[in-house]
C-alpha cells in the first residue's frame, strides 16, 4: 500500500523535525539548568563543571542524536532537577490530563449533540437561532477568562465547588470528580460550540439525502429518523473533528491546569520550561507532539479507509 507507506514516512519526518526543533529551541533558552540544580549560591566554576558533567558543553546535534537514540528505546532520561525519570514523570501526570480532556469532551458532546439535534428540527427557528448565538458567544471566550468567571460564579459567589486544586482518585472518587468539574467545564463549554456547529451542518446535509426522505415517507416519527438514520453517519464527522481539535485541547489543558493547579502534563511542561529542565521539556514536548501527530494520523487513516476518495484529495483544508 504505497499511500499508507507515504503517510508513514511523512509521520516519521514530522516527528523527527518536531523533536529536533524542540531540542534547538529549548537549548537556546537563556538561563541554565546548572544554576537550577546548584541553586542561587553556586559559584561560576561549579556551574561550568556541572555543565560539563551533564554533557551540556557538547555540540547540540550530538546531544540531540544521543537523546533520540535512547528515546527510541523508550528512555527519555532523568529530570535534571530532581532525578525523576522523565517517562515516569509523564506517566504520573498523564491520568490527570487525560481525565481533564475526557471529561471536557463528555461535557462538550453532552451539550453539542442534543443542541444540534434540536436545532435541525427546525432550521432557522427560535431554538436554532438562540443556540447559534450562544455558541457564538462561548466561542469568543478565552479559556483563562472562562475559568475565572466559573471560579467566581461557582466557588466565590455560590460556594458550590472548590475553586482550585486537585483531589487524586485515591482520596475518593467523588471528591476527585468534584475537583475536576470546573476545569473540565472550562474546556468543554468552549469546545461544544465547534462540535455543535459542525454536527448541525452535517445533519442538515444528511437530512436532504434520499434515505432520509424514504424513512420519512415510511412514516417514521421525526425523532427516530434523526436519532437512528441521521445521527449515525454524522458521528463519523464528529470523530474527525475531535481528532482535529486535539491540538487546541492540549493547549487549553496547559492553561487550565495552571489556573486550577492540576498536577497534569501541561503543568509539568510549564514547570520544566521555567526551570530550564531541558530534558524534561524535551521529553514532554516530544510526548505531546507524538500524541498529536499520531492521533491525527489515525483519524486520517480512518477517514481514508472509510472513504477512499480522500486518498486523492488528502489536504482538504
Amino acid at each position: 500500500m504505497p499511500w499508507i507507506f507515504r503517510q508513514l514516512v511523512r509521520l516519521v519526518v514530522v516527528l523527527f523535525c518536531v523533536t529536533l526543533l524542540t531540542y534547538m529551541i529549548v537549548n537556546i533558552l537563556p538561563g541554565d539548568v546548572a544554576i537550577v540544580i546548584l541553586g542561587n549560591l553556586a559559584t561560576p566554576e561549579d556551574i561550568a563543571g556541572l555543565r560539563k558533567d551533564l554533557g551540556l558543553d557538547r555540540p547540540m546535534l550530538v546531544r540531540y542524536f544521543d537523546w533520540l537514540g535512547s528515546a527510541l528505546s523508550g528512555d527519555l532520561g532523568r529530570s535534571y532537577r530532581n532525578g525523576e525519570p522523565v517517562v515516569q514523570a509523564i506517566l504520573d501526570r498523564l491520568p490527570v490530563s487525560l481525565q481533564l480532556m475526557v471529561m471536557a469532551q463528555v461535557i462538550a458532546l453532552g451539550i453539542a449533540i442534543p443542541v444540534a439535534l434540536l436545532s435541525v428540527r427546525r432550521p432557522g427557528g427560535i431554538f436554532d437561532r438562540i443556540s447559534a448565538s450562544a455558541a457564538f458567544g462561548f466561542l469568543a471566550m478565552p479559556n483563562f477568562m472562562l475559568g475565572i468567571v466559573l471560579i467566581y460564579l461557582f466557588s466565590v459567589t455560590f460556594d458550590l465547588l472548590p475553586a482550585t486544586g486537585f483531589t487524586p482518585m485515591s482520596e475518593g472518587l467523588w471528591d476527585n470528580f468534584v475537583s475536576m468539574i470546573l476545569p473540565s467545564m472550562t474546556l468543554g463549554l468552549i469546545e461544544w460550540t465547534v462540535l455543535m456547529r459542525v454536527l448541525r451542518s452535517d445533519l442538515l446535509t444528511t437530512l436532504k439525502e434520499d434515505f432520509i426522505l424514504l424513512a420519512r415517507a415510511k412514516g417514521l416519527p421525526p425523532w427516530r429518523v434523526l436519532l437512528q438514520h441521521a445521527l449515525r453517519p454524522s458521528s463519523f464527522t464528529l470523530i474527525t473533528i475531535l481528532g482535529l481539535n486535539i491540538g487546541g485541547l492540549i493547549g487549553g489543558a496547559v492553561i487550565v491546569e495552571q489556573i486550577f493547579a492540576l498536577p497534569g502534563v501541561g503543568r509539568l511542561l510549564l514547570g520544566g520550561i521555567f526551570n530550564r529542565d531541558l530534558i524534561l521539556v524535551q521529553g514532554t514536548v516530544a510526548f505531546i507532539a507524538v500524541g498529536f501527530v499520531v492521533i491525527n494520523f489515525l483519524v486520517d487513516m480512518l477517514y481514508a479507509v472509510l472513504d477512499p476518495r480522500v486518498r486523492h484529495v488528502r489536504f482538504r483544508s
Partner: protein, 511 residues
C-alpha cells in the same frame, strides 16, 4: 534558599506595629498518642539528597525533617538542645568543635548511627567534586570521627556560630545516610533514609509524601502521631480551602487575605514566626550609575518601604532596617537607616548631575510585578526612571551571580545565626557577594562576627556593620522574614516555624 518558593520574587514590604511571635496554644494538657496528620505546603519537593537537590525549599524542609535530624536543636526561645549530638564543645579559640554523638541511634534501615556517618555527611557536602552549592556558606573545613561517638569539626577559622547553625534544619544540617545514598545512587533522591521520628514510605510527585511513625525512635515517647502526609498544594486558595474543609490539618500560608480570615475563625489557629533575614532589594555597586553613593542613597530615600508594605501586606509583614530579626538577639540602638525623603532624594539625583535610569530585574510572577511597579512608582517621584525586566527565576539567579543587573529582588533566608549569610553577601572575597560590595571595615567586622567567641562583641560588630551598610545603601531591606502556618484548632505541639518549615515531631491532636 527558598529558591523555588513563590516568595522568592521581590515582595515589597511594609510595616505596622511589630507583632510579637505568637506561639499560641499553651500546652497545658499532656500530649496524646495516635492520629494521622496531613500538612499542606506550597511546592513539590526538590528531592532529599542535598547534593542532587542543591537547595531545600521550606516545603522540602518540612518533609525532610520528618525523617532527617540535625545534631542540635533550638527551642522556641532560642536555647540549644541536644538532638543527634548530646553536646558540642569548642577548643579555646573556637576553631575546633567536638560533638558527643548520641549512642544507640539507628538509621531507618537498621544500621547503627555513628560519628563516622556525621563526618561522611558533611565531608560529602564539602567535597568540591560533589559541587554542593551551599558549601560556600559552611565555615567547616572537614569533619573527623576519632571514635564511634565523637565527631570533630575542624573549622576554617575560629567560629562561634557552629552549634546554632547546625541546629537550624536546612539542606546542609539535616543528616542523611551517605551509605544508603551511595548504594541507591540516583534513586536515593526519591528514597531517603534518615534517623528521624518518621520513616519515609512513599512520594508521589506533585501529589503527596507519606511517612509513618518510627517505632525505634531514640526519644521513646515521640513521635505522637502515627502517620504524616505532606501534600504540595501550590495554589494558596486551594490550600486554605482544604484546611477549612479539614482535608489537611496544617498549612503553610503567605496570602495576607487568608491569614486575616483565619485569625477570625474559631476552628483555626495561626502560628507566626519572625525569623532572621529579610526580603531585600540589592543594588549593584559596580554598575553605573549605582556605583555612585549619592545615587544609591537617593534610591534608598525615595523608596517608601514602610508605607508600601503596610498596605500591600495588610500590616502582616513589618519592615525593619536590618536583616537580623528578633530571633538573632541582635538589637541595634542606631542602625543608621536613611529615612524616607523623596525631596532629599531629588537633591541627590540633581547633585549627581546626569539623568538616572535603572533597570530592575524581577521574577515574572504577579508578586514580582507588583513589587517592581511599586518600586518604579516611588522612584519616579524622585526623578529616577526605572525599567522593569521580568525574567524567570533561573535567569534572575544567573544575572545576580554574574553581577549582570542593576537592581533586583532577593531574600536573605532565615538562619539561626546571621554569620553565614552576612559573610557570603557582603565580604569582598565572597564569591556570592553579588552587589560587588568592597569595604575593608565591613570585611573586618564580618570576621569579628564570625570568629569572636564573645557574644557581646559579635553583636556590637553586626550593629557597627549595619550602620555602614545602610549609609552606603547597598541592599534595601524591603520586608522581614515572617512565616505563617495555620492549623486546625485541635493541633498542638508545633514548634517555631524556623526557616518556614513545619516540624511535627512533637505534634499531637487534642481531644
Amino acid at each position: 534558599m527558598a529558591l523555588f518558593s513563590r516568595r522568592f520574587g521581590l515582595v515589597a514590604a511594609l510595616t505596622a506595629a511589630f507583632a510579637a511571635p505568637a506561639f499560641a496554644q499553651a500546652p497545658a494538657a499532656a500530649p496524646v498518642r495516635g492520629g494521622a496528620l496531613t500538612i499542606g505546603v506550597e511546592s513539590d519537593f526538590e528531592g532529599f539528597d542535598p547534593v542532587r537537590a542543591g537547595v531545600y525549599s521550606n516545603s522540602t524542609v518540612t518533609a525532610a525533617s520528618l525523617f532527617y535530624e540535625t545534631l542540635m536543636r533550638l527551642d522556641d526561645k532560642g536555647n540549644l538542645l541536644p538532638a543527634l549530638a548530646l553536646s558540642m564543645t569548642p577548643n579555646e579559640d573556637g576553631s575546633v568543635w567536638t560533638a558527643k554523638i548520641r549512642p544507640n541511634v539507628k538509621w531507618h534501615d537498621g544500621t547503627p548511627f555513628t560519628a563516622q556517618a556525621v563526618a561522611d555527611h558533611f565531608n560529602r557536602l564539602l567535597d568540591p567534586a560533589n559541587r554542593f552549592a551551599g558549601r560556600a556558606y559552611l565555615a567547616i573545613e572537614k569533619v573527623e570521627a576519632p571514635d564511634d561517638l565523637t565527631a570533630v569539626f575542624k573549622m576554617r577559622g575560629p567560629n562561634a556560630a557552629l552549634p546554632r547553625t547546625l541546629a537550624q534544619p536546612t539542606v546542609t544540617t539535616l543528616i542523611i545516610s551517605v551509605k544508603a545514598a551511595q548504594e541507591k545512587g540516583a534513586d536515593y533522591n526519591r528514597n531517603p533514609v534518615g534517623t528521624g521520628p518518621f520513616v519515609f514510605k512513599e512520594w508521589r510527585a506533585a501529589d503527596r509524601l507519606v511517612a509513618e511513625r518510627n517505632p525505634n525512635y531514640w526519644d521513646k515517647d515521640k513521635p505522637y502521631l502515627d502517620r504524616v502526609t505532606v501534600r504540595p498544594l501550590p495554589d494558596s486558595d486551594a490550600r486554605y480551602a482544604s484546611l477549612v474543609k479539614g482535608d489537611v490539618q496544617v498549612i503553610w500560608e503567605d496570602r495576607a487575605e487568608n491569614i486575616v480570615k483565619a485569625k477570625k475563625d474559631k476552628n483555626l489557629h495561626v502560628l507566626t514566626w519572625v525569623g532572621s533575614g529579610a526580603l531585600v532589594i540589592p543594588l549593584n555597586t559596580q554598575r553605573e550609575p549605582l556605583n555612585d553613593k549619592r545615587v544609591r542613597q537617593a534610591v534608598s530615600m525615595a523608596l517608601n518601604r514602610k508605607a508600601n508594605a503596610a498596605v500591600l501586606t495588610q500590616g502582616l509583614r513589618p519592615v525593619h532596617d536590618d536583616p537580623y530579626g528578633p530571633s538573632s538577639g541582635i538589637e541595634c540602638k542606631d542602625n543608621g537607616a536613611l529615612k524616607y525623603d523623596p525631596e532629599a532624594a531629588r537633591k541627590l539625583v540633581a547633585d549627581y548631575g546626569k539623568p538616572v535610569k535603572l533597570t530592575m530585574t524581577v521574577t515574572a510572577t504577579p508578586r514580582g510585578r507588583e513589587g517592581a511597579q511599586v518600586f518604579q512608582a516611588d522612584m519616579k517621584k524622585a526623578g529616577i526612571d526605572v525599567e522593569i525586566k521580568p525574567v524567570d527565576q533561573t535567569q534572575l539567579v544567573k544575572e545576580a551571580l554574574t553581577r549582570d543587573f542593576q537592581v533586583t529582588g532577593w531574600r536573605i533566608i532565615d538562619l539561626a545565626d546571621v554569620d553565614p549569610q552576612m559573610f557570603a553577601n557582603f565580604h569582598s572575597k565572597s564569591p556570592i557577594n553579588f552587589s560587588g560590595y568592597n569595604n575593608a571595615e565591613v570585611d573586618r567586622l564580618l570576621l569579628v562576627g564570625r570568629t569572636s567567641l564573645d557574644e557581646n562583641k559579635r553583636k556590637a560588630a553586626y550593629c557597627d556593620m549595619i550602620k555602614i551598610l545602610n549609609d552606603d545603601a547597598v541592599w534595601l531591606w524591603s520586608g522581614s522574614n515572617i512565616d505563617f502556618a495555620i492549623t486546625r484548632a485541635n493541633v498542638r505541639g508545633i514548634p517555631a516555624l524556623r526557616g518556614g518549615a513545619v516540624q511535627v515531631e512533637s505534634a499531637w491532636f487534642a481531644k
